[in-house]
């Protein structure tokens, strides 16, 4: 068994820097955009579960093997199966990835990245995150400063945090709104 601290350290150091490549891989092979977060988290979950016995030597190959199997299983479970897709995935192997080079951010890039991430937020969210991250305010401080309820601040902070983290890990940094509006979630296979 790998103890939890080591597992977490491995996950943050080796797996998370691959998020951008992983996202790209999922997008390329699975056309339902709405499933992205579900799939990615599922891949992370499986990666953590399986690494509990022993940390893998080749994290990259390990992660993408999990992602590929995950997509194959999903395709097999889907109501309408596109055999092409399954076949494609099975032949995909672990082809060299175009995004091989990217690794964790250098410390000095982190600040630049974080600034750009904050800039990418919608105004209200940006201000809440700015007060928290730049000025070091607590939720209550932010609420007082802006004259709004702590509830509102919490909601905005949560949304902003998720978007900023997405950006820091190489994503678009878009706010993930609740999916109320997405009525047309189609049952179409990729």
């Amino acid at each position: 068994m790998v103890d939890e601290d080591r597992l977490k350290e491995w996950f943050c150091r080796e797996v998370l820097p691959l998020e951008r490549s992983l996202t790209h891989f999922i997008r390329r092979n699975w056309r339902m955009r709405d499933d992205l977060i579900d799939i990615r988290q599922d891949v992370y979950r499986q990666a953590i579960s399986a690494a509990q016995r022993e940390l893998p030597n080749q994290t990259r190959a390990y992660l993408f093997a999990i992602a590929r199997n995950n997509l194959i299983n999903r395709a097999k479970r889907a109501k309408i199966v596109s055999f092409d897709l399954v076949a494609d995935l099975e032949h995909l192997g672990l082809a060299p990835d175009l995004y091989e080079t990217e690794r964790g951010l250098e410390a000095r890039d982190e600040l630049r990245q974080a600034m750009a991430g904050i800039e990418a937020l919608p105004p209200r969210c940006r201000e809440v995150i700015r007060l928290r991250k730049v000025e070091g305010y607590s939720t209550r401080d932010v609420a007082e400063q802006l004259g709004v309820s702590t509830d509102t601040v919490e909601k905005q902070t949560t949304l902003g945090m998720r978007a900023l983290v997405d950006f820091m890990l190489g994503g678009s940094g878009k706010i993930q709104r609740p999916l109320f509006a997405r009525k047309f979630r189609k049952e179409i296979t990729p």
């Binding site: 998370l16 977060i37 410390a107 105004p123 209200r124 607590s138 902070t157 998720r162 609740p178």
Partner: protein
Amino acid sequence: MSKASNIETCAADWLLRTEEAGWSETDQAQLNSWLSESDAHKAAYWRLEAGWRSADRLAALRSDHDTAIPQSRQRLSWAWPIAASVIVIFGIGSFSWWNSVPALQQVEKMHVATNIGKRKLVQLEDGSKIDLNTNSSIRTATSEEKRVVWLDSGEAYFDIAKRSGQKFIVYAGTKTITVLGTKFSVRRDGEKVSVVVEEGRVRVDDTTVSGSARSAVIEGGDVAVSRGLSTLITTASPEKIDDALAWREGMLNFDQRSLAEVAQEFNRYNQKKLVIGDADAAAIQIGGSFKASNVDAFVRLLRDAYRLNVDDSGASVTISS
């Protein structure tokens, strides 16, 4: 919302709460049990935590954020009802928010100092504790918004009681250390300031350059050493942190440090000074745990175990190979 999105929202809520005042051991236990429920929870929480921490460097923008993150857009687009007052507060805030120490209303003033070889535990009325090391001196003051300590010389360990809305600030030479978390020590050797964080987070700012911010957030396991304008931050192993804080138990721990450094450490604690006679002796690597006040025992060890020559004149001991 999708399942993953729900989990991520939960994880974000937890993460926010850990940063708030009043986060307790019970809360931590609840978080741990939530994490152990599922590897999906771990994945979401670890990911958010790592990404959120990686944005901590934003704190470096604190004093001159106006240039770093343009605010014009958000001022125009504020749709919240209290927009006017917000802008007023910002206007004032950007000039005087952080460097307003002189305006501090000092409610309580205390001066504590220790002699060579002595230690003192200072209890502040808010429940914070300061462990003052050998040959050190501090002054304290509190106001409604701030608790302030000046480290005039020496070394002190801080265990800070969290108070929301009342910051805890340590001034050490040209460095300002703002407490965002709980347990850390500050050591001052003239211009050189070292900060060792055992738990929680602190921010170290340079006060010599007004306007241009030089700021670093360091957290548990980090050691920051500043000399003038340059600050070096390293992550130390838990053993290193323990070694650096061993003085609180009256001990000095060394992991393969040169005899020259070790002697210097002993000399902070004792009237009887160690003098190293030659370069060969100075370079000898020493490891182990020693009582800070028992310089004689250490000298005996050098003589018996390392076969060094010892010349004890009473006021000082000269060691040579």
